[in-house]
């Protein structure tokens, strides 16, 4: 009965090798978010989709991209991961922007 699913739960990639993280939802929510959370830090919003409209945070590096092919799925692409991109990546959904968010379990990314 998981409502927000993230795959994989753990991802190891090499420095500079593109990687894609996946998120899916069964809630039919309009908004999907991607957060980056480093150790002992606050979750930091990277971007969000309201339906098909993409909204990038001003300080999100160009290295991070996202795709939302349909209501249920959203992907986070890191084009050239650096060591500083190692973090937990959280996907969340909400019915409306900024409303109650439902989080996935996260994907822990390691960059070697």
């Amino acid at each position: 009965d998981a409502m927000v699913i993230q795959n994989p739960r753990y991802q190891v990639t090499q420095f500079g090798k593109p990687v894609t993280l996946s998120c899916s939802q069964t809630l039919n929510h309009n908004v999907m978010y991607w957060y980056q959370q480093k150790s002992s830090q606050a979750p930091k919003l990277l971007f969000h989709y309201y339906d098909k409209d993409f909204n990038n945070e001003a300080d999100t590096p160009d290295n991070f991209q996202s795709r939302r092919p349909n209501t249920s799925f959203c992907f986070l692409d890191i084009r050239s991961p650096g060591l500083g991109d190692a973090a937990m990546y959280l996907c969340a959904t909400s019915r409306d922007w900024g409303g109650e968010q439902y989080f996935g379990p996260g994907t822990r990314l390691t960059v070697t």
Binding site: Y35, Q41, A42, L90
Partner: protein, 107 residues
């Protein structure tokens, strides 16, 4: 600058004692404030939001615009309250989380 500050990284409280987790914010407009909680091995989930003005699991939080605070309180701590607590702010075009406070309930 817009920010959410949770001054305590770790808060240890004896079972049955009152709990107060502090949250202060800086935002120029009219924000909406939330508390999210993450129990061990579980995902982040909403605990409460200021517009609901309700008590969840015995917790309450009041938005104090004068002090720009949204502290989370519970009169009597229970062992199952041990978790990571995050304060979050929703502005017109921003969502900002605090760094979180780990609440440890001592037996």
């Amino acid at each position: 600058a817009q920010r959410v500050t949770q001054p305590e990284k770790l808060l240890s409280v004896f079972k049955g004692a009152p709990v107060e987790l502090k949250c202060n914010y800086s935002y120029s407009g009219s924000p909406e404030l939330f508390w999210y909680v993450q129990y061990s091995r579980q995902r982040l989930q909403l605990l409460l939001r200021h517009i609901s003005r309700e008590s969840i699991k015995g917790f309450t939080a009041d938005l104090n615009k004068g002090e720009t605070s949204f502290h989370l309180k519970k009169p009597f701590a229970q062992e199952e309250d041990s978790a990571m607590y995050y304060c979050a702010l929703k502005g017109d075009d921003k969502i900002i989380f605090g760094k979180g406070t780990r609440l440890h309930i001592l037996p």
